[in-house]
Symmetry: C2
Subunit: 258 residues, 2 copies
């Protein structure tokens, strides 16, 4: 069965989509079969990996709605061999509104992801703790929370951990009972000593839940998105490529110890 | 009647809260009476301006819910003279879920903001185009969309303009019929020539709808948030303070021409 990872932070703009794409691509380049699931109606995972929004009609909206389309109906290949995408469309936002009144609405995604032929599934979540993100929490065995170096990014951590605990008590996966949760520091700028000191002090209580790998601020990461490529393909020599490569290695070390 | 401005971008992390606080504070320091309305359940507007989350129980959740509390019941002063806050709590997210099934759900905020004793009301919106943001659109005469220098920030503009048009056709305010919409470029880094060229080219069609003022990336803005102060009070000599001061002047020029 696939190992399911959700990339979640209700704070906007912390690097969820950037991490989903670059960590997934790094694992695909290491030979794993990886599926990205875009659960954000903005549809940025598809844009960032170069899947043309006009090349698909059905998306996660049809899987999460009463149509209950199967995942295999909507999954598309990407330009990276071994990396696939289940895309999102803006229409997913309307489907989410309708989910609020359905029973077992938390478990819809979990059921849809059963026995898919991938080693890893990475779910890119929208910036909220609504029904789409709760579905991701319920379906996952591992949560990665990208956190940029700022006060607002920290404020939401306590709310997020509460939501993780709440869903954990309902969740199906034995794996989830082990509650694997990791914070990933992103857009780190070594020059900002005062800010860095503050943030590193604030997350000291979560030290054991934080990846050792830190993703530095690196314009190549931003430019890669403009070119709709993973950072490895845009500029293999960039610090962004090195940092996400290192993250993939640390992630695999953690996974293989389970 | 107050002039109501919404700060909206469904893309996360583009500088909505940063702009709400610093533009509002700049206008208060120029002698206007300004109210900030936090419509984001994350409650970051209050955190950024130093209003202690334990100092209030009722918030915008009670105004938007069936309790229909009046705004004057929940408005709090801030440390800036002439600047007030209608705070948000995480509970607002649950209230929003319940709004989806109510009639005239778009007009709840518009009704609540009638004849309040302020010159300007700035509404800080969450990173989505859901029912809270639609309420803000419906209540506003002016929309400011902060946009950082990246591909994802641009992608959402077309969706946003569609939503603005849709709500405009329903909206009450004569003022809104004039559809005042402005893009604000934020976190601009002069060194990133390739990225800047791409973004400036992409927004060329919106040139007449873009503020001349550009907010440069400036760590003092981030540090001011850590200290829970407007940037003018944290470091009056910073480029962040100068940029937001200039934005306030350009905003007032636009407003007085109406
Ligand atoms: N390490 C980095 N260095 C430089 N820029 C970065 C880095 N990581 C992310 N960015 C930029 O920051 C912006 C936010 O990243 P991204 O869109 O991935 O965040 P997100 O959490 O997915 O946002 P949302 O909450 O809207 O889904 C992007 O424009 C991206 O280019
Ligand atoms: N001009 C700037 N220079 C440096 N940092 C900035 C600037 N503007 C905003 N930031 C930083 O970028 C981050 C995102 O800003 P902010 O939280 O205001 O965005 P937002 O659009 O309100 O996010 P959300 O979508 O979560 O509501 C903040 O941590 C802030 O410190
Ligand atoms: Mg994203
Ligand atoms: Mg905000």
């Amino acid at each position: 069965a696939p190992f399911i990872v959700s990339i979640i932070n209700q704070k906007g703009g912390t690097g969820k989509t950037t991490t989903t794409i670059n960590l997934s691509a790094a694992l695909a380049y290491l030979g794993y079969r990886v599926l990205m699931v875009d659960l954000d109606p903005q549809g940025h995972t598809g844009i960032g990996i170069g899947v043309d929004p006009d090349s698909f009609i059905e998306s996660m909206a049809e899987v999460m709605s009463i149509h209950r389309k199967s995942m295999s109906d909507i999954i598309l290949p990407t330009y990276v061999s071994g990396l696939w995408l289940a895309p999102a469309r803006i229409h997913l936002a309307h489907v989410a509104e309708q989910l609020y009144s359905r029973v077992f609405r938390e478990a819809i995604l979990h059921q849809a992801l059963q026995s898919l032929p991938y080693d890893f599934i990475f779910i890119d979540c929208p910036p909220s703790l609504g029904v789409l993100t709760i579905n991701a929490l319920y379906a996952s065995g591992f949560i990665i929370t990208p956190c940029q170096m700022s006060r607002y990014s920290l404020e939401g951590l306590a709310d997020l951990l509460l939501s993780v605990e709440m869903v954990k008590s309902l969740a199906p996966q034995e794996l989830f009972k082990r509650n694997i949760f990791r914070i990933l520091l992103t857009m780190f700028d070594k020059r900002n000593k005062v800010t860095n000191e503050y943030v590193l002090e604030e997350i000291r209580p979560y030290r054991d839940l934080t990846f050792k790998t830190i993703i530095l601020r690196n314009e190549a990461i931003n430019q890669a998105q403009i070119e709709q490529r993973a950072v490895f393909d845009f500029d293999p020599a960039s610090t962004g490529a090195a940092d996400y490569q290192q993250l993939a290695v640390e992630f695999l070390q953690l996974y293989h110890r389970l």
